[in-house]
Amino acid sequence: IGVDEKSLISILTNSNEEHKRSLRKGSSKLFIEDENGFERWDQSSIKILKHQFNRFRDAVVLSLLHPWERDARLIEKAIRKGPKHYNVIVETACTRSSDQLLGARKAYHSLFHHSIEEHLTHIKGRERKLLVALVSAYRYEGTGVNEDVAKSEAQILYEAINNGDKNKLLDHEDAIMILATRSKQHLQALYRHYNQSYDKTLAQDLEGEGILKDTVECLCTPQTYFTRVLEAAVKEDADEESKRALTRVIVTQKEQLVKEGFVPNKIQDILLGLNKDFMLASIASGDIK
């Protein structure tokens, strides 16, 4: 099922009643025989259609917005929608450049008359500390990593995860400080040291730890994170949220995705109708920021 607007419009405007009836009878997936003698639209099909149009609308709006406003709105929505959406906050805070994140913070001021940090106080859960710290970061972006410090901080994280109470990780001050203040280069070096020293990756050790794992992946191995999100979206039984994530990731990560050749092949299969055309077109046009 999909929405091919052009064809639809052409067919509908050119059909008479007879033609339309035979269309309905012919589309047994979309229309069911009603006991009162007419072919009615299947309820679940309407839902799917609605979602398709919504996703298209979202894709258009998201693409059109200035990246700062876009990111500010993504964060604000995620805060409002609750814990299942906190990964969007992590994703936005950790995969943008320092200046892009700053821009998002400024846009947030203009749009919502509060700082992101203030709105994050609405979160009662233990994720708040980490989230506030991540959005407040203005990381150094140059090269030059102190490998010794990276190694010792890898150890600090290792001990926090393996020797401490895993449930208390979100409260572990040192861990949060390291993840929230160190440069991405530094954290990537830390990630390497962790792997070398402990024969497993930091991400593996954080399996099941929700936004902590997301944080580490977004900062150290963003392609892994995005691949995971995209694959969840293209699964057969993907829910609406996952599919929305597809739109978000494709729009915000256009550049990277094209580089890594992830699209259009994989995506083509699930994106249908106008949404697909729009997505592929915007990626193909190399609409780079």
Partner: protein, 321 residues
């Protein structure tokens, strides 16, 4: 208002030449250096450095550093060197240097960190963080996190990372409830609790002022009076400084000046820092506060307590001719 009197029209070329002359030959003509630099604002100083480099193919700052710090015979040689160096830097760069110097000192006083995060507007703090990147190849927050621990670390990292909303809107209901939260924390001596740090490091300045006012209405005394004074506890001392800075920066700076001068000896570091960092901002009002509080003009006190070229420098920045 600024106290530094900088003429509107200057010839930066002549200035560069005058500075060059002051550095040549035997010794250094500090008076000439002060006479020029002490009467130039930040934009002009930047232009002078630029022109100097063009003409003489060297960095004026590096030249001054080497000229001035060599004067060990003069008792306050390095003090004048530090003062000139601080003065000639661009304000965000200067604050980044001050922050770094303070972090490297193994003491537990965090004046600079609190001052830059609580008395500057959000854009200024941002500029400082950028300058810190450029100069030290690290972010300010990671350095603060590395050099401090415990509650102090939580407070300072939160303060320097803040990007407060700049607007004047106030939510009175919120101010009242947050004033209550602050009071409860103080009453229970839980100074380091999450609410305290969160409120102080995330709310806009306007909102905080409203909160402090509500506190006063609710409790009958100002919040600063309820925070232990002169505490030997690093965190409480830092917290109190932050509250005072957020509440009334000029009053805070007046006190720093007063403390630096009174008693035996002078705390040149503090004296230089306040005068140099506020001379182009609100040193005039701070001077007025000082006069009111101490019955003697700040200029007179500085004249009495300092000497030599250092005194000349300070008095020039204070607006004396």
């Amino acid at each position: 208002m600024a106290t530094v009197s900088a003429p509107k029209q200057v010839s930066v070329k002549e200035d560069a030449e005058a500075l060059r002359k002051a550095c040549q030959g035997w010794g250094t003509d500090e008076k000439a250096i002060i006479a020029v630099l002490g009467h130039r604002n930040a934009a002009q100083r930047r232009q002078i450095r630029h022109v100097y480099e063009e003409i003489y193919q060297e960095d004026l700052i590096k030249r001054l550093e080497s000229e001035l710090s060599g004067h060990f015979e003069v008792t306050n040689g390095t003090i004048i060197a530090k003062a000139v160096y601080r003065w000639i830097l661009d304000p965000p760069d200067r604050d980044a240097v001050l922050a770094n110097v303070e972090l490297k000192k193994s003491g537990n006083k965090h004046h600079v960190m609190v001052e830059i995060s609580c008395t500057k507007n959000p854009e200024e703090l941002l500029a400082i963080r950028r300058a810190y990147h450029a100069r030290y190849k690290r972010s300010l927050e990671e350095e603060v996190a590395y050099h401090t621990k415990g509650d102090t670390r939580r407070l300072l990292v939160a303060l320097v990372s803040a990007f407060r909303y700049y607007g004047e809107e106030i939510n009175t209901t919120l101010a009242k409830s947050e004033a209550k939260k602050l009071h409860e924390a103080i009453k229970d001596k839980k100074f380091g609790n999450e609410d305290v740090i969160r409120i102080l490091s995330t709310r806009s300045i306007a909102q905080l002022q409203a909160t402090f006012n509500c506190y006063r209405e609710q409790e009958g005394t100002s919040i600063t009076k309820n925070l232990p004074k002169d505490s030997s506890d690093e965190y409480i001392a830092t917290l109190r400084m932050a509250v005072r800075c957020l509440k009334d920066p000029k009053k805070y700076f007046e006190k720093v000046l007063r403390r630096s001068i009174e008693g035996i000896g002078t705390d040149e570091d503090a004296l230089t820092r306040v005068i140099v960092t506020r001379a182009e901002k609100d040193l005039k009002e701070i001077k007025e506060l000082y006069h009111k509080r101490n019955n003697v003009p700040l200029d007179k006190a500085v004249d009495k307590e300092t000497s030599g070229d250092y005194k000349d420098m300070l008095l020039t920045l204070l607006g004396n001719e």
